[in-house]
Structure formats: C-alpha cells, structure tokens
C-alpha cells in the first residue's frame, strides 16, 4: 500500500490540482481530489464590478472556453432585461461557440494523445488547433480572450466568411482522413483506452456528469438540441452518444463532435442573414434574477445572476462543466492501474481555472 500524489504540479496536468491515490501494487484502491489551487474569487469580484467590467472579468474564468463565459454573462443580462438579440448576432455567436468547441476538443485530443505517449498524433491535433485559433483570430482579432459578446449582440461582424469556410473544410478533411481513423483503429490507442475508466450511466446521473462525459455513458443530453439557444434550432446536426462509458468512448464522442462542429459552422455561415449585429447602447439591467445555461465544449455551463437594479450584479454564480464532472474521477479510477490514472483524469477534459474560478 502506498500513497501516490498526482499533482498539484505534474507533467500530465496542464493546471494545478491534486489527485492522491492509494495503491496496492499498481492498482488504485482509493482516490482523493483536491482543487482550489486556482481560486481567484471571480464570483466575489463580479459582485463588485459593473456589467461592462463584468464581461471582461468573466472572460477570464477559462483560457479555452472564454467565449462561453462572456456569452453566458450576456445571456443572463439579456434574460433579466428581456433584451432581444438580432438574428445575425445569433449566428455569429454560434460560429464563435462552435469554433471554440473545435479548439477545445482538438486541444483535448492532443493532450490525450500525449498522455498515452502518442506524440505524433499530438502534433497533428495541435497543428489543427492552430488553424482554429487563426480562424478565431480572423473573426475576433484575438486568440484567447475574444471579447466578442455584449448584452444584445456581438462586437464584431464576420467580414471574411470565405476564409473561415476554407479553414473549417481543411479541419474537417484532416479530421476525417487522419485523426479519426488513427484514433479509432490504432491498436495501441485501443489497447490503452478501451475498457479503461468506466463511468456507468447510473453513476453519471448521480454525480451529475455533463457534456461528452455523460454522452459517452449513454445519456443523451445536449442543450443545443434539448433547449436550443441562439440559432441552434435553425441548424441541423447530430449528437453522438455511446453506451460504453470508457475513455475510448469519450475519445470517439469528441472526435465525432469535431465533425459536427465543422458542419454547424458551415451551415451557420451559409445561412447567416444580413442585418445589425447588436442593439444600441449598453442597456440598463432591471431588478430580477435569471438562471441560464448553454452547452460549452466540456458540457453544460450554468450561470445564475441576480440584479438589484444598480449597475452591478448582486450575485453571479458560475457552475462550470468540470465542477460537475470532476468528482466522477474517483469512481472511474477505483480498481484501475496507476498508469491509467493520468489518462482517466484527462478523459474528463478537466479545466481547473473553470472549476476554481
């Protein structure tokens, strides 16, 4: 029996957090997760900033899904103030959200490949991710914090749809021809991932797992379908669901979602109506409260916002997907080998900046 810590700083982790496992030989018999190393008190700060500052603040919750958080903040304000968003802005938000999903999934696929020691595939994923970042930069002018959303619309228009389409088609092409075949058929990938870190459907519901984690465990939840927001009800796409609940299923789900996102971006760009991209001046936010949620790359994000009629929100609560998914790491790790631990925790696509806020 030995206690082996993974983290807070470890080559397998992108961000500080700690999972301490008790092992008998190389078999994990218990696991304890510690978070909070990235705690910045963003919820606390948000109550002390006005709405304009709040957008910039919430953008910094996460370095990968930053667009999601400004979108959520703006949607919460829109929900409280019953503000309508112009049609074109809805499509632009879809393009941004899906490009960000591409970014997130490709980054995750790269990290997963790195963890199973498959460096060549890691490089393929990251070169694709680089192209997605170029797309995002082309649209928003920024590579990480895009500053695209504002209550009642978006800040920038998509001026060069042709280049976005070209890049997205390349990504879809390489994903179909290289990434998915290697990920799904390579015997070494399969040997490392199939049957590893199983999360049963029952556990997934009890622990409240969301996003690709839940969909890999046979739960068909995707807010883009079940509670469509922005322009998703106008677009056609599939939600991949697998029953196995293992790491391999999560890889397949995310790989297929990359293709679905490419499809969505193409449709959104082609169907985008002409018109304004935002309303007028920054609206006044009346008294009220709202609870909004959307499907971020890693799963459902929930924002609760309460307003007391001043220029600052009375309470902003942020529930990120990793916060819901991370506790499942314990059930998934029990009985598994130590060499699988890094992969199992990574299969959640954890984001600790999000979790800790």
């Amino acid at each position: 029996m030995s206690k082996i810590p993974l983290g807070p700083f470890h080559p397998a982790l992108e961000e500080p957090y700690k999972i301490e496992v008790t092992c008998t030989g190389e078999t994990i018999t218990d696991a304890e997760i510690t978070v909070g190393f990235n705690f910045r008190g963003i919820e606390w700060l948000a109550e002390r900033k006005n709405y304009t500052q709040g957008i910039a603040l919430l953008e910094r919750v996460c370095g990968i899904c930053s667009n999601v958080h400004t979108m959520m903040f703006c949607r919460a304000v829109e929900s409280i103030g019953a503000i309508e968003v112009p049609e074109r802005a809805k499509y632009i938000r879809v393009v941004m959200a899906e490009a960000e999903r591409l970014h997130s999934h490709l980054l995750w696929a790269g990290v997963a490949c790195n963890l199973i020691g498959f460096e060549t595939l890691f490089m393929t994923c990251f070169s694709l991710r680089e192209q997605v970042m170029d797309v995002l930069e082309g649209i928003s002018g920024n590579r990480v914090n895009y500053a695209m959303n504002r209550p009642g619309g978006v800040n920038r228009d998509i001026t060069d749809p042709a280049s976005v389409l070209a890049a997205i088609r390349t990504i879809a092409d390489v994903t179909t021809k290289q990434l998915i075949p290697v990920l799904t058929t390579d015997p070494t990938v399969r040997a490392r991932c199939a049957g590893v870190g199983i999360l049963t459907r029952e556990d997934a519901i009890a622990y409240g797992a969301v996003g690709p984690m839940a969909r890999a465990s046979g739960i068909d939840i995707d807010l883009r379908k079940s509670a469509p927001y922005e322009a998703y009800d106008q677009l056609s796409f599939d939600v991949p669901v697998r029953q196995e609940g293992d790491v391999f299923a999560r890889i397949v789900i995310r790989a297929l979602e990359i293709l679905e996102s490419c499809k969505l971006i193409e449709q959104a760009i082609e169907m985008m109506p002409v018109g304004p991209i935002a309303g007028g001046l920054f609206p006044t936010v009346p008294e009220g409260e709202a609870c909004v949620r959307i499907e971020a790359p890693r799963g459902e994000v929930i924002y609760y916002m309460a307003s007391n009629g001043t220029d600052m929100p009375a309470r902003v609560r942020v529930r990120t997907p990793t916060f819901a998914n991370m506790p499942t790491a314990r059930v998934m790790a029990l009985g598994q080998g130590l060499s699988d631990l890094a992969l199992i925790q990574a299969s959640i696509d954890p984001c600790y900046s999000c979790t800790d806020r």
Partner: protein, 301 residues
C-alpha cells in the same frame, strides 16, 4: 588478437571513438526522424552532444556522501560496461572475437538495465522507485524472447558472434532476428514500450533524481546502448565471410543506421502500451517467435 589491435578495437573502432560519435548520431537521427514525422524541424545534428556537454557542466545537487558516490558510480559503471559491449563486437576481421563472446556481450548489455534499476532505487525517490520497478519487470519481459532467440542462433555454433550469422540456417535466423528486433524498442525505451520512462506517468522514471554529470553519464550509457544493440543486430543479420574490412565497416554502420530508422518510425507511429500489456506481448508473441526459431534450430531443419 594482438594487444595493439585490441587497443584499437577498444578505443577507436568499434569502441570508444566510434561509439561516442555513432551514439550521439543515432540519438540525433531518432529525434530528427521523429520530428520530421510530426511536422517539426527537429534538432541540428550536434544537439545530443551539446546536451551531453551542458549536463556535464552543471553543478549537481549536494547529496549525502555515500548516496552521492553510489549515484555517480552506478551510471559510470553502466557507461564502462556498455562501452565494453560495443568494443567486443567483432566487426573487423582482425578482431574476429573468441569462442563464448556472445555470453560476455549479453552480460555486458544487461549490466545497463540492471544498474538503472539499482540507480532508481538508490535515488530514494518515489518516481525513481516506480521507474526502477517498471524497468525490472520490463527486463524480465523482453529478455525471455531476446535470450531464447540468441540461443536459437547459437545452437550450432561455438557461441561466437562472428560465426552466429554464418552458421545458423536462414529460416532460423529470420525468426530469431524478428524476435530480437521486437525486443530492441523495449531495450532502448522507445514507443510502444517506453514504459519505464513514461514522463506523463512517472516523470523520468529511474533517472528522475539524477542531475548534471550524473545524468550525463546515464545519457552516455544510453547512447552506447544504441550502438551496441543496433550493432549486434547488424552483425547477426548479415553474414560477412571473406568480406574486406572496409565493406565490413560500411555494412555494419549501414545496417545499424537502418535499424535506427525502423525503430524511430515505429516509435513515432505508436502510443505507449501499459506494463501488463507489454509483458503479455513479449511473453506471448515475442517468445512464440523466438521459441519457433529455437525449435527449428533444435530439429536441425
């Protein structure tokens, strides 16, 4: 073999000088191929040598005297033993070897992994220990087919490396060489068998706690291992009877580098397996291959 030829063999070819140059070159070749396959530019050819020099120049972390001594002595002995293995490779016709040099060679090659296991435990770190125990299991896994394949080759010869390639029938040699080739990635810590140095799981494994010159010695021993193992493969696979020395050297170097290329490509296109999977792989498929070679050799077919 006269003393002067012996000195040349130890110090110049295929010993120290060649091993030093070829070892770093092979390491570079592996890194370069890996990089090109991954769409990167890769390091310049002198990079492994510069890495080595830089490590040598670093001041090691102070350690208790005995531990410091052990942690220096283990990699140093590993360097010497692996160099010995390179030096007794009978490449030149003047140093054709002696009866039983296979056994000496194998034991010298095995000193490296053994010392790495000891070194991992001696560093008294959790990760060093984990790496060492993985290395130990790996040694047990790949040596079964590796040694069986060597025995199959040596069955009809007088246990001399120079004769192994010529005396064993071609089908025995084919099977045995395939088994040996399977074992090489594991011996060289390459994918898909890079388990004992899986940095995402256990940092650098056995050498985690080693720094500066001590780590440089491990690196040097590792590059000598490249030369010894690919060289052994070259000598066993190409029968060189009545070939002029120049050709012998060229074939030896050429085949060695070809093996590096094959191993590098295989490593770049695979993920890392798990320890249990590797052990099963070697004990089942590797051993089956080697055993059939031995069976054929025994039956004299």
């Amino acid at each position: 073999m006269t003393a002067s030829f012996g000195a040349i063999q130890l110090l110049v070819f295929p010993g120290l000088l060649y091993a030093f140059v070829a070892g770093f070159f092979m390491e570079w070749l592996q890194r370069k191929i890996n990089a090109r396959l991954q769409g990167r530019i890769g390091p310049p050819f002198y990079q492994p040598f510069f890495d080595f020099v830089k490590l040598l120049g670093k001041k090691p972390i102070p350690r208790p005297p005995l531990q410091g001594f052990i942690m220096t002595a283990l990699p140093a002995v590993s360097v010497v033993a692996t160099l010995g293995a390179v030096a007794i490779l009978p490449v030149l016709s003047t140093g054709i070897g002696f009866s039983g040099d296979v056994i000496l060679l194998v034991s010298l090659i095995e000193v490296g992994p053994l010392l790495a296991v000891l070194g991992g435990f001696a560093s008294r770190s959790l990760w060093g220990g984990l790496g060492a125990s993985r290395e130990a299991v790996m040694t047990a896994a790949y040596n079964l087919p590796f040694l069986t394949a060597l025995i199959a080759l040596a069955w009809n010869s007088d246990l001399s490396i120079g004769l192994l390639a010529t005396t064993a029938p071609w089908h025995v040699r084919l099977l045995a060489m395939a088994a040996i080739l399977l074992c090489l990635p594991a011996k060289l810590h390459l994918n898909p068998f890079s388990i004992s140095s899986a940095e995402q799981e256990i940092y650098a494994g056995a050498t985690t706690e080693y720094d500066g010159p001590r780590l440089a010695l491990w690196e040097l021993a590792h590059s000598f291992e490249w030369v010894a193992l690919t060289g052994l493969f070259a000598l066993l696979s190409v029968p060189m009877v009545g070939v002029a020395d120049l050709w012998r050297v060229l074939i030896f170097v050429g085949v060695s580098l070809a093996v590096v290329v094959v191993l590098s490509v295989a490593a770049a296109s695979t993920a890392r397996l798990k320890l249990a999977q590797t052990a099963r792989w070697f004990w089942l498929w590797g051993f089956l291959l080697a055993l059939s070679a031995l069976g054929l050799a025994l039956a004299g077919i």
